[in-house]
Amino acid sequence: MKAFLKYREIWLFAAIVVLIGLISTRFPAFADPGNLRQVFNDTSILMILALGQMVVILTRSIDLSMASNLCFTGMVVAMLNAAHPAIPIPLLIVIALVVGLVLGAINGLLVWRLNIPSIVVTLGTLTIYRGATFVLSGGAWVNADKMSPDFIGFQRAAFLGIPVLSWIAILVIALFFVLMTRTALGRSIYAIGVNPTASVYAGIDVGRTKFIVFCISGMIGGLSGYLWISRYVIASVEVANGYELNIIAACVIGGISIAGGIGSVGGAVLGALFLGIISNALPVINISPFWQMAISGSAIILAVVLNARGERQQGRIILRKVEA
């Protein structure tokens, strides 16, 4: 199982290397370490979001409300910053995490306590959270001139030659790696995805674990809210509209099975990077940005076709496997 997972990520990594190689035949400077650092920085937010989505998908659930959560939390911190520029950025980040956590906990409670399928719950909260952003802001935008220099500058400051945004992404990746491979919670998340019934017999509280993963994805959505707003320096109701599907696309390309239980931190990161490289490369090699949607769509389909062999049949007999 483990060898197979590694195998899959190596292939994705190879595909990314080939992709960079192909792009650099037309535009050599693309493969430049400085430019690749830039691409990584550009993709940081998507990587963070994909990791949050990954833990949810691993438990056979889905969180469609992440982009709306991002939009709402981003608006909250932007309005706070515009009204009280004195609030230090670390505190704002904590506020973003807490607001995101609350929104995620609402999803989680509905899934856990009322047993409503996650796709229905988050379909509802997707529209509610974005609508709430409108109610909160009254439809107004928060522009760059209303944000404090610290608010905008924090993630752009370089530390050891790399922007803080990239460091945050690296930190989140490291945290998720520890969570998924070194903690009991991580093992429970995989177990629930592979076989929920067996997980119950193994003493895992499935409902509570699902609640926790929605709290995690909520916090990630909140954190990304601050990062997104301070990166694109505009907070509006339209922020990240439809982005939830990009996040899921990154997970799918990263080999995370929508049926749950299969997927890894490395896969989610590489899946996001793959999409990030495509969106960064298109303008460089003079292809209209209008091509991006069709290309990422094809990439998703190709990724599922290639990953299909590893995924199990749906509706299989429960309790067939003991290991894995």
């Binding site: 719950v121 379909l123 509802g124 909260t125 299909a308 749906q314």
Partner: protein, 331 residues
């Protein structure tokens, strides 16, 4: 891998909270619809007017048409997120045909055929390659709309012939629009298909237990393929209606419709886990969503705020029976 003895009773599914509520679901929806209707007529003096009520129907007919096919698809345990993208692609193709000088019959044919083709493409990927439909259709959603963006970019197609405008703007009799008639006909056809034919029984059987259905001689793959084609077909028809109503095509046309269609289906009592649901419920849900958006529109509530009500309605209507049952059953 070691085999361990399986427990005597193996449930098809771990949890199915909707199953026991389904018997009273339509009743609940009727109550909700009547309540919203009453609130609307009190809230706005312009509501109880035949022409207002006629305008109201445009809020749900196009999405409702897709929702019928989507209901069958979701009952069979699959889903199609690409319906709005199919609308965009079909509309773009019709736009291209207009530039080439095509007449109204050709335009309609193109819209329907493109929709059907897209649905068949989804169906082939899901049934032939055995891929999960939610992922396939997220992919084709980007692909179909992406093609529309490649063709159109930031441009728009206009100049649809005068006779083409009938489908989205025309009235069959007094205030009864062509769209509404089509919606009602489709409702009857899909009701008959799902509740009165062996095909409909097969759809339920597949949704409840695809493996048992397979062993019972149901051609699971072929049935699902037909359902994807139907969903594509209905999206094509919806594309004709929307394009005709708007009179122009942009690649961003019908953006976000897929979630509204699915909301409609789920609100109508179709279990998102498959295996349960009714067309009557979907019809009622379509009316309710139309009533809510139109009523709020009359009160000058912005569209984005309406979406809060739709989202709350979805969650509350599904949560209510569960909470109620738990309070009553003490569990």
């Amino acid at each position: 891998m070691t085999d361990i003895p399986a427990p005597r009773h193996i449930p098809d599914r771990l949890d199915k909270p909707l199953r026991s509520a389904i018997f009273s679901w339509e009743a609940l929806l009727v109550v909700v619809a009547v309540a919203i209707f009453a609130i609307n007529s009190f809230a706005s003096p312009y509501f109880l007017d035949p022409y207002s009520l006629s305008d109201l129907t445009f809020n749900f007919t196009e999405k409702g048409l897709i929702a019928f096919a989507m209901a069958l698809l979701i009952i069979s345990g699959e889903i199609d997120l690409s319906v709005a993208a199919i609308i965009a692609l079909a509309s773009t193709m019709m736009g291209m045909a207009v530039q080439a000088g095509a007449g109204t019959p050709v335009l309609v044919a193109i819209g329907i055929v493109v929709g059907l083709g897209c649905g068949a493409f989804n169906g082939l990927l899901v049934t032939r390659l055995g891929l999960p439909s939610i992922v396939v259709t997220i992919g084709t959603m980007s692909l179909f709309r992406g093609i529309a963006f490649i063709i159109l970019g930031d441009q728009a197609y206009k100049g649809y012939p005068q006779s083409f405008a009938f489908f989205g703007q025309g009235y069959v009799w007094w205030v009864v629009s062509f769209e509404l008639v089509l919606f009602l006909i489709a409702a009857v056809v899909y009701w008959f298909l799902l509740h009165r034919t062996s095909f409909g029984r097969r759809v339920f059987a597949i949704g409840n237990n695809p493996i048992a259905a397979q062993f019972s001689g149901v051609r699971v793959g072929r049935t699902k393929f037909i359902l994807f084609c139907l969903t594509g077909l209905m999206s094509g028809i919806a594309s004709v209606l929307i394009t005709s109503r708007l009179g122009s095509t942009r690649p961003s046309i019908a953006q976000g419709y897929e979630l509204e269609v699915i909301t409609m289906v789920v609100l109508g009592g179709v279990s998102i886990l498959g295996g349960a649901g009714s067309i009557l419920g979907v019809v009622l849900a379509a009316f309710i969503m139309g009533l809510v958006t139109f009523g709020l529109g009359l009160l000058n509530v912005p569209g984005i705020v309406m979406s809060i009500f739709i989202g709350l309605l979805l969650i509350i209507v599904i949560a209510l029976p569960i909470v109620w049952r738990r309070l009553r059953g003490g569990r």
